[in-house]
């Protein structure tokens, strides 16, 4: 059996999609500015700790290609002076590294227990139908929206939630979720409930890699909603507070 046949046997396997024997990956597809960014990431870590840069660097290559491809694997391996197998082992472990090209907007619907039971399952099922995509992170034909279901997004008090490029859209319904994706496909940018104004998937991956500018730092973006304020509001209404600092303070 040839090597090619072995790999063809498991086309859906991420490991085989990022390590391809017939396509070793070309690190030179990334330009000088990406190299400079990679160096800047490495410089964040102490001497001897360069490999710590790998996770952010994989986000960086996604910010260029919209996925982790054999090129991205080769690039990270080159930059960090480790093997492609070492990079691929890491890239295949984490769910945020995408093996397929991702749309401009990654829509993640929480279907963990709390959100799922409060409507997240219905939202996910409805969006699959609405967008005409199969399960498991498929992208619409026009390349605008990639749908996935997500594990707990740590916003249970806003359930059910979805995120678009990881910015929160809280307290969703089937109808509101459909409306969001329709807007996205029409070129509009709905406003997140909490988080910065939407950018593309590639642009957000650059932020996750740790690169922000004045605009993406979004100092005016909303950070809290009604549930986050529930306790402090009730405390104020009731005139309750923590005891003031004691003696010796």
């Amino acid at each position: 059996m040839s090597e090619e046949q072995v790999f063809d046997a498991e086309p859906a396997n991420f490991r085989t999609s990022v390590i391809q024997l017939d396509r070793p990956g070309d690190p030179s597809v990334f330009d000088v500015s990406t190299v400079a960014d990679a160096r800047a990431i490495i410089a964040r870590y102490p001497e001897g700790g360069a490999r710590s840069a790998l996770l952010p660097m994989l986000h960086l290559v996604q910010s260029v290609q919209g996925q982790v491809s054999p090129d991205g694997i080769a690039f990270c391996a080159d930059q960090l002076n480790i093997t492609k197998a070492q990079v691929a082992a890491v890239a295949t472990f984490y769910t945020m590294y995408k093996k397929n090209p991702t749309g401009d907007y990654l829509v993640s619907v929480c279907t963990n227990t709390l959100c799922g039971m409060l409507g997240g399952d219905d939202i996910y099922a409805a969006l699959r139908e609405h967008l005409g995509v199969a399960a498991g992170g498929e992208t619409t034909g026009d390349g605008t929206v990639t749908l996935e279901h997500a594990e707990c997004l740590a916003a249970c008090d806003y359930a059910p939630v979805l995120t678009v490029n990881y910015e929160f859209f809280d307290n969703q319904t089937v109808e509101s979720a459909k409306a969001i994706t329709t807007e996205l496909r029409n070129g509009a940018k709905p406003t997140p409930t909490r988080g910065a104004p939407l950018c593309t998937f590639k642009q957000i991956e650059r932020q996750i890699a740790g690169f922000f500018d004045e605009q993406t730092a979004a100092p005016d973006a909303p950070s809290i909603g009604t549930p986050g304020l529930a306790g402090v509001k009730l405390a104020a209404d009731r005139g309750e507070s923590a005891p003031s600092y004691g003696e010796g303070a």
């Binding site: 984490y94 945020m96 709390l114 249970c156 008090d157 890699a209 922000f212 100092p219 009604t226 507070s241």
Partner: protein, 432 residues
């Protein structure tokens, strides 16, 4: 119990994430005071306050710090503070709001921790999906540096400290401290065998203290208020406040900061009662890894020690509340699917056990399960619990064994009914 906002006191104020606003509300006063004290005195203060880790395990923070501060011969730069901000436990939604709204309180706590244990470098490992938290914390670090709270010769004391914000890439297991360290070193997030513990062999094999966001954010208040003030906020053994993150079938879900030891009955009352007018059926006291409790526990003080006495854990005080129309088998199925997805695969009992769990729960939902399957779930749980490197596998057994313990009849009804007996039940194909 009265509400006692300490960590959440700036929620709702004018952009508390901007340093000028944070400073107006007593921000960085704790750091200024801390820098006038000896590092060892700070550790003693945190020990005396009996602050216990807010990440779930409740380990005494001062003791943890003292382990790392111990080796006196080691140079200042050769130890680390690592912040576990990989919040992803189902139900847990406290650290992200804290970082998104009040990132400086955590940063102030980090700097104090570094000063206390004689470190000059900290890393904040934030889950990758939490982009808005990464954004806020990154900006806050830059602002703190511009104000002289970070960098070299902080406030003229000669103390140096840097903070690196590090985004993860989507793996719940990285909330386990040794998996987090491996991930931070650019590897697959898989737990290490302990001992050695991070206190001696942590990040880059150097002494490291790994603390949760809420733990560190508590530190400035302890410095300002004193150990006795902090202790008096909560019951014996569980000092301080707890941010109860209420979610599920209550009218007003959200973050309610109250003394540790508040009961579920009081919490439901704070949240305006049950949302559908139904009776509470089951709840998790602190995330999906803490065994569920039932109406008989409505008056149980939710603090570290009381919850352990009834066979569960306080965990992250993430209280998910379900009512009598919610199917406990469906809820548990979704939790075990989560653990199957998130098992890192290192240890066979966890990797295989969670796989077989899911198969059985699928049979329970599609109507092909037998009564023996329920016993098999318990047998599987026996073979997962305590047999893996880390607590992920143990956590996976919690919803399974606790739901069978309290609701075995509901499992039997799934078998006899050939599927879920609840109206509106259906199998969601392809969601997992």
């Amino acid at each position: 119990m009265p509400l006692t906002p300490v960590l959440t006191q700036r929620f709702g104020t004018e952009k508390p994430w901007l340093i000028e606003n944070y400073e107006k509300l007593n921000g960085y006063a704790g750091l200024k005071k801390a820098l006038t004290l000896q590092p060892d005195d700070l550790i003693t203060m945190v020990k005396d306050s009996n602050l216990r880790g807010r990440g779930g395990a409740g380990f005494p923070t001062g003791l943890k710090w003292s382990f790392v501060a111990e080796p006196r011969g080691v140079e200042r730069g050769q130890r680390y503070v690592v912040v576990n901000a990989d919040e992803g436990e189902p139900g847990t939604c406290r650290d992200l709001p804290l970082m998104m709204n009040d990132p400086h309180s955590m940063i102030e706590g980090i700097i104090i921790a570094c000063y206390a244990i004689r470190a000059s470098q900290a890393f904040v490992y934030i889950r990758g999906e939490a982009i808005h938290a990464i954004r806020r914390v990154t900006a806050a670090v830059q602002q703190a540096k511009a104000r002289g709270y970070l960098g070299t010769n902080i406030l003229g004391t000669g103390f140096d400290c840097e903070i690196v914000v590090h985004g993860g890439a989507g793996a719940y297991i990285c909330g386990e401290e040794t998996a987090l360290l491996d991930s931070l070193e650019g590897r697959r997030g898989q737990p290490r065998l302990k001992p050695p513990f991070p206190a001696t062999n942590g990040l880059y094999d150097k002494p490291t203290t790994v603390n949760n966001v809420g733990t560190l954010a508590s530190v400035p208040y302890i410095v300002l208020g004193g150990a006795d003030w902090f202790k008096a906020l909560g019951p014996e053994g569980s000092p301080g406040t707890s941010i109860y993150s209420l979610s599920g079938r209550v009218k007003n879900p959200g973050q309610y900061e109250a003394p540790m030891g508040t009961t579920l009955r009081e919490l439901i009352d704070l949240a305006g009662g049950m949302s559908r007018g139904k009776e509470m059926k089951f709840f998790t006291p602190g995330g999906s890894s803490t065994p569920m409790l039932t109406p008989e526990h409505l008056d149980l003080p939710l603090d570290f020690d009381s919850v352990v006495k009834v066979g569960s854990m306080n965990g992250t005080s993430a209280v998910m509340i379900f009512d009598e129309d919610d199917c406990v088998v469906r809820a548990t199925k979704k939790w075990v699917e989560f653990y199957k997805h998130e098992s890192c695969g290192k240890c066979t009992p966890c990797r295989e056990g969670t796989y077989w769990y899911v198969g059985i729960y699928e049979r329970l939902e599609n109507g092909t399960a037998t009564i023996e399957d329920v016993e098999t779930l318990l047998d599987l749980s026996d073979n997962i619990l305590g047999r893996s490197f880390c607590a992920l596998g143990d956590g996976a057994t919690s919803p399974v064994t606790s739901s069978i313990k309290y609701f075995r009849d509901e499992y039997v009804r799934h078998v006899e009914n050939h599927g879920c007996p609840y109206p509106g039940a259906r199998v969601l194909a392809g969601a997992h």
